[in-house]
């Protein structure tokens, strides 16, 4: 399913690319539900299909451009990607098998969370409990990152507007 979408995403029309990106996001969210990650899927759907496609489309609207054809044949990137892929596939052999309760990744702190989240925080949704309580530092840092990114975007986009106003005033003065 996901493979299909990915195989397609090399269209040249940028609008088509963004559209397929949105569709891909929906499918990805469905896969995440199958993998039991309900909260993650909700966020992925909202963020991937909703917000980021709106932003990408707004920027496309501003920029108005089709992708230029590639100038050189992408041999080197191809080789790099194939090498990386080969190395990663080789690496997967050692990863724990899919779906086993006894895998090392499920032994560390997760059982503690599952057992104790209910009576320590009164919150049946373990994800929320861990997110806000046990790993509060992570989330605080993450909120700060969003805050910083918002400020960054505002600075980048507002700076020019002021300059443009100045130019307008100058033009007005000159006229």
């Amino acid at each position: 399913m996901v493979v299909t979408v990915i195989g397609i995403i090399r269209a040249h029309n940028l609008f088509a690319v963004v559209m397929l990106g949105g569709v891909y996001s929906f499918l990805m969210a469905t896969v995440l539900v199958i993998l039991d990650a309900v909260d993650v899927s909700m966020t992925e759907a909202a963020v991937g299909a909703g917000i980021s496609s709106v932003l990408l489309l707004a920027v496309l609207h501003l920029v108005r451009m089709r992708e230029a054809p590639l100038r050189h044949t992408p041999v080197i990137p191809m080789i790099v990607c194939l090498l990386t892929g080969g190395a990663l596939v080789y690496g997967t052999v050692d990863l724990p098998p899919f779906g086993e309760a006894g895998g090392p990744q499920n032994q560390h702190v997760a059982p503690y969370y599952i057992e104790n989240a209910e009576h320590e925080t009164h919150s049946p949704n373990i994800v929320t409990a861990v997110l806000a309580s046990y790993r509060g530092y992570d989330t605080l840092g993450e909120v700060t990152v969003i805050f910083t990114a918002g400020i960054g975007v505002l600075v980048l986009l507002a700076a020019r507007r002021r300059r443009e106003d100045d130019e307008d005033e100058q033009k007005g003065g000159a006229a």
Binding site: V38, D39, S41, M42, T43, A46, V47, G50, I51, V54, L55, A58, V59, H61, L62, H119, E120, T121, H122, S123, P124, N125, V127, T128, A129, L131, A132, S133, G136, Y137, T139, L140, V143, T144, I146, F147, A149, G150, I151, V153, L154, L157, A158
Partner: protein, 154 residues
């Protein structure tokens, strides 16, 4: 897009539904899937929808940029302030246990407040970013139309 009455009416009908759904996701996040991030994004999406149909200026009347700019740091402050409150009440930073009469209630309350902080920051940041990009797009539209009019007139 501006002159389609069907879109306007349906969006007006849907807007409160999306906002209420966002609140439901926010405060039901303890019991079902959901939480601050999802609710924040959904609430921002509602305003973004409004802004896309009725134009950014109309959306800016609903949620003025000044409010948005205050809300972005406010969310971070709520979050950090909850942590500091725990610190002042004699526990570790971001430990909510002393907030309630019993540690369990304190934890629950702390989670709610913190999620609210996340909601405020996420939704207002998304809105601010949308205002920045969408405002640009609208300006470009206006410039384009002005140019077309000028060409038509000349």
């Amino acid at each position: 897009m501006r002159d389609t009455i069907i879109l306007r009416v349906v969006v007006k009908l849907l807007l409160p539904a999306i906002l209420i759904f966002a609140l439901y996701v926010q405060f039901h996040g303890d019991y079902g899937p959901g939480g601050g991030f999802q609710a924040g994004v959904a609430a921002a999406a509602a305003i973004i929808l409004y802004g896309m149909i009725f134009g950014i200026p109309a959306a800016k009347q609903v949620v003025p940029p000044s409010v948005v700019f205050v809300m972005i740091p406010l969310g971070v402050l709520i979050y950090a302030g909850t942590g500091v409150a725990g610190l002042l009440l004699g526990d570790n930073f971001l430990d909510y246990s002393p907030l309630g009469s019993k540690p369990v209630y304190g934890q629950h309350l702390g989670i709610l407040i913190v999620e609210f902080g996340v909601l405020v920051t996420v939704s207002s940041t998304m809105l601010a970013i949308f205002y920045a990009f969408g405002g640009r797009a609208d300006e470009a539209d206006a410039a384009e139309e002005a140019r077309k009019d000028g060409e038509g007139g000349s």
